[in-house]
């Protein structure tokens, strides 16, 4: 795809969104190039499945296109809004995975038979995704935004519309819960227990 035009380069996301709402087709392309990688990345890291992540990315962008005519300039950042939308769409999908025991985890879809390290990495990623699916939605979101997206607690607080203290509590409890879920699989995942 062509690079976005120079005139858009310094425009804030919400200004470009306004232009899209007013009928500027180039604005849609600019926004897509800017936002889709972020959205797809967040969804892939949270779900551990690129096909599902692509569905989430498309759904999230569709919600953005639909809200564009009603978007109020200066009230919220498009990126903050999108983080929230993607997090909610992901936890919807993770919720559907609940009840599936870790023993029923699907085999990695693209194993590399000659690279045991690759298999182990895929297994680890799958284990994390399925463990995340066992968490309550808000804990899964807080942990993902903090440890997969690298956002700060104030940023997460804004995205989730909660206090910073609540974010700290959710991430701590979420990490604890993940550790409990994965505890029995440490050896299998190739992590030695240094406690004797």
């Amino acid at each position: 795809m062509n690079a976005p035009l120079g005139s858009w380069r310094d425009a804030h996301d919400d200004a470009v969104l306004l232009a899209y709402a007013n009928g500027d087709e180039e604005a849609a392309r600019v926004l897509s190039l800017r936002l889709v990688p972020r959205v797809l990345g967040q969804a892939t890291r949270m779900l551990g499945d690129q096909a599902e992540a692509e569905d989430v990315a498309q759904e999230a962008m569709m919600k953005l296109w639909k809200i564009a005519p009603d978007w109020r300039q200066g009230e919220a950042q498009v990126s903050t809004w999108l983080y929230r939308v993607v997090a909610n769409l992901c936890t919807d999908r993770l919720r559907r995975r609940r009840g599936v025991s870790l023993d029923q985890i699907a085999e990695p879809t693209d194993p590399q038979p000659s690279a045991s390290a690759g298999i182990q990495e895929t297994t680890r990623l799958t284990a994390l995704a399925n463990a995340l699916a066992q968490l309550p939605d808000r804990q899964a979101q807080a942990v993902s935004l903090r440890h997969l997206e690298g956002l700060t607690n104030p940023e997460i607080a804004q995205i989730m519309d909660i206090s910073v203290r609540s974010v700290e509590s959710l991430t701590a409890r979420g990490k604890r819960a993940l550790a409990d879920i994965l505890a029995g699989r440490k050896a299998e995942l190739g992590y030695e227990d240094d406690e004797i």
């Binding site: 899209y20 709402a21 897509s32 990688p37 639909k66 992590y191």
Partner: protein, 117 residues
């Protein structure tokens, strides 16, 4: 209960591994998203029908509205200008008390009830 160091390290390692996941959006995905942007704007620009337009459509268009209006007007006309036969009956009722005997002596109801048993 706090996590052990090894549990913390395991999680940090898993998180770091996951953070390395930086997918590339396919051309197909981008095309679908751009297509959605056009579709969403087309829907947004289609004027929505007003309430009255929806009501007219529901009852069968303007001819039905005309019929409704005629019925409404006619009903009002009946109320304020009743036919002559009706108006006599109405004036007889108004201003007089009317006693209706629901159970007169000839009623078979009481006749049956008086049977011993």
């Amino acid at each position: 209960m706090k996590m052990t160091k090894s549990e913390d390290q395991m999680l940090d390692d898993l998180f770091a591994l996951r953070r390395e996941t930086v997918p590339v959006a396919s051309d197909d995905l981008m095309a679908r998203i751009l297509q959605d942007s056009i579709a969403a704007r087309t829907v947004a620009s289609t004027p929505k029908p007003s309430f009255w337009q929806g009501f007219r459509d529901m009852i069968g268009g303007w001819p039905a509205v005309g019929g409704l209006a005629m019925a409404g007007v006619t009903g009002v006309w009946f109320g304020i200008a009743p036919p002559a036969t009706v108006s006599n009956f109405a004036s007889d009722l108004i201003g007089t008390s009317v006693t209706v005997d629901l159970f007169d002596d000839s009623s078979s109801f009481f006749a049956e009830a008086s049977i011993d048993g």
